[in-house]
């Protein structure tokens, strides 16, 4: 197996909570290393309290038999690691993708994923999972989930 094949397999694993995006789209696969048939995968959690962490680790081990999966608890993941394709898939599914970190720190503008309006307001900083806030669009009168920028 070569590295590209491992990446292709990982691309097929859906995020258990937002299945429209894969683990590769989410940017949680930090590295894939194939050496003499040994596959080593470094994986970073999104939020530390994410209950899907163990599930995702097992899903990788099942998808890539024999792979050694190492969970990395450092600061290498942020929402900026979500790929462009991943952001578009989130938006299509009704989740407002997180703004880039540098942009978010300077602006409090949040766009509605349905109509594109910026006339939206915060309903709750917290939502159904640690990674999401709840907002409401005053233009199309649609509540929506905002992926938090971290």
């Amino acid at each position: 197996m070569v590295e590209a094949e491992v990446w292709a397999l990982l691309e097929e694993i859906p995020d258990p909570e937002i299945p429209v995006v894969s683990l590769v789209d989410l940017g949680v696969i930090r590295s894939v290393d194939v050496d003499n048939g040994r596959v080593h995968i470094e994986f970073t959690p999104t939020f530390l309290g994410c209950p899907a962490l163990e599930y995702m680790k097992r899903a990788i081990e099942e998808k890539v038999p024999g792979a050694e999966v190492q969970v990395i608890q450092d600061d290498s993941w942020s929402t900026d690691k979500i790929t462009a394709a991943g952001r578009e898939k989130l938006r299509e599914a009704g989740f407002a993708p997180p703004a880039p970190r540098l942009v978010q720190l300077q602006s409090q503008v949040h766009k509605c994923p349905y109509c594109g309006s910026t006339e939206t307001r915060l309903e709750n900083l917290f939502g159904p999972t640690p990674c999401r806030s709840l907002r409401y669009c005053d233009s199309c009168r649609q509540p929506f989930e905002q992926f938090k920028t971290i």
């Binding site: 939020f47 530390l48 309290g49 608890q73 450092d74 600061d75 971290i150």
Partner: protein
């Protein structure tokens, strides 16, 4: 020493996470039900990651979290308090997050990259806890019930931090540090009588299962 410092923070996050989860289902409004449940989940996630750092990659995190003798837990008395009043609950949230930001900032420049990296990751998530705490603080800061709760919990909040970080906490919260002729801080290393019942409830299922049970 290092291990004790990390365990202190991990124990704070675990027990406070448990206390915050006690509002699940009974908070004054639905939004706070969701907020407290989510905050609790994050805090317990931080505890887990810190225990993992202490235990090593293949170490037993659950054993550290649940199996230590009660006197070996390093949590601050602030997180042990069973608070059933919203003003006190928000006062603790605000004091805790302010103190936590100060100690996590210190850990972010730790010479050990594993500690500094995890601290930075924790800090990203805590940003949202602080926004929530500040929002409530702005809303309640003129209310006597809230200011009285802050004054009552202040000596507990001081006990969360080592001596060198306390002046910054006092500045940020507009409080005065306890001194000999005023009230004393409720120091880490001492426990309230509210820890034992919480620990017993938290570990009841685990203790009832036969050794080696797989969850």
């Amino acid at each position: 020493m290092r291990e004790q410092q990390l365990l202190a923070i991990a124990d704070d996050e675990l027990f406070l996470g448990w206390r915050e989860s006690e509002w699940t289902g009974i908070a004054p409004m639905l939004e706070e039900d969701v907020a407290f449940s989510s905050i609790a989940q994050n805090e317990i996630g931080h505890a887990r990651a810190l225990y993992q750092l202490v235990a090593g990659e293949d170490g037993d995190v659950d054993a550290l979290a649940f199996d230590r003798p009660l006197e070996e837990y390093r949590c601050a008395p602030l997180v042990e308090l069973h608070l059933l009043d919203w003003a006190h609950t928000i006062a603790r949230r605000w004091l805790y997050e302010t103190a936590d930001e100060i100690r996590i900032a210190a850990l972010k420049s730790d010479p050990d990259p594993a500690v500094a990296g995890l601290a930075a990751k924790i800090d990203r998530e805590e940003t949202y806890h602080r926004m929530h705490a500040e929002m409530w603080h702005d809303r309640l800061k003129e209310e006597p019930r809230f200011t009285e709760a802050v004054a009552e919990l202040w000596p507990y909040a001081v006990g969360m931090l080592p001596e060198d970080l306390r002046p910054e906490l006092a500045v940020r919260t507009g409080q005065v540090l306890p001194s000999d002729n005023l009230s004393q801080a409720h120091e880490r290393g001492t426990h309230t009588d509210q820890l034992a019942p919480m620990w017993e409830e938290m570990t009841e299922v685990r203790r009832s299962a036969p050794a080696g049970a797989q969850w």
